[in-house]
Symmetry: C2
Subunit: 128 residues, 2 copies
């Protein structure tokens, strides 16, 4: 019997309504506009729950903060090393390429994460 929670729904809605691949902190500030009494712990707790339920995925850690994605479809990401933006970058099909490799080392891959690093469109050409 899964109980519903307005705050949990709000957290999930905000995660799914953005393509910015947000951090917990960002989600927290956004939910706070709707539920000013929300706690950062609630955001973390529900993000962990969504991950366990497979409703969201983690993109990776950028500048020490974990970034999440409400889009669980098979796709990879581009991380700007200058401004920290995380951008969708299409769907890979690399698993087949590596099937023999994993047979050799006896590993059973369940998922993978392909991340490119570089400068995003806005940061290309910037000085510092």
């Amino acid at each position: 019997m899964e109980k519903h929670s307005k705050k949990r729904d709000a957290i999930y809605d905000i995660i799914c309504s953005t393509k910015s691949h947000p951090s917990a902190e960002w989600v927290y500030t956004q939910v706070k506009e709707i539920h000013p009494d929300i706690s950062l712990g609630t955001v973390y707790r529900n993000i962990a729950r969504f991950k366990e339920e497979g409703k969201i995925i983690t993109v990776g850690v950028v500048n020490g903060q974990e970034r999440i994605d409400g889009d669980t479809s098979d796709h990879c990401h581009f991380v700007c090393t200058h401004c920290g933006a995380v951008i969708d970058a299409g769907a890979p099909d690399v698993t087949d390429t590596y099937s023999q490799v994993f047979k050799d080392i006896g590993c059973t891959p369940e998922r993978h994460n392909l991340v490119f690093y570089g400068r995003c469109h806005d940061c290309t050409g910037k000085r510092s």
Copy 2:
């Protein structure tokens, strides 16, 4: 003019002499056997330096700890979600596949990181 440092050399040697893709903590305990007065801060500082110099790369964050690799050649990794082991998994050739994607979104990738997750050979079939 790069100055000589026995401890820095020891840190680098240990990183390069293992294929375990260690954490800073692991490197610290290893260097401590040679230099008992080594400081954890020194390990972190020199790891950061090696990264800047391009002498090592970071594999990713496993269980909250950053894992590094002295092998800077083009290859990807397998992370065991059960025991946390990081294993080399051959060389990818995915950049070409994505060249058009990056033209579309205007990003200039410099490097990438492909990580597979699952159970390693030893952990396949284990219960908990």
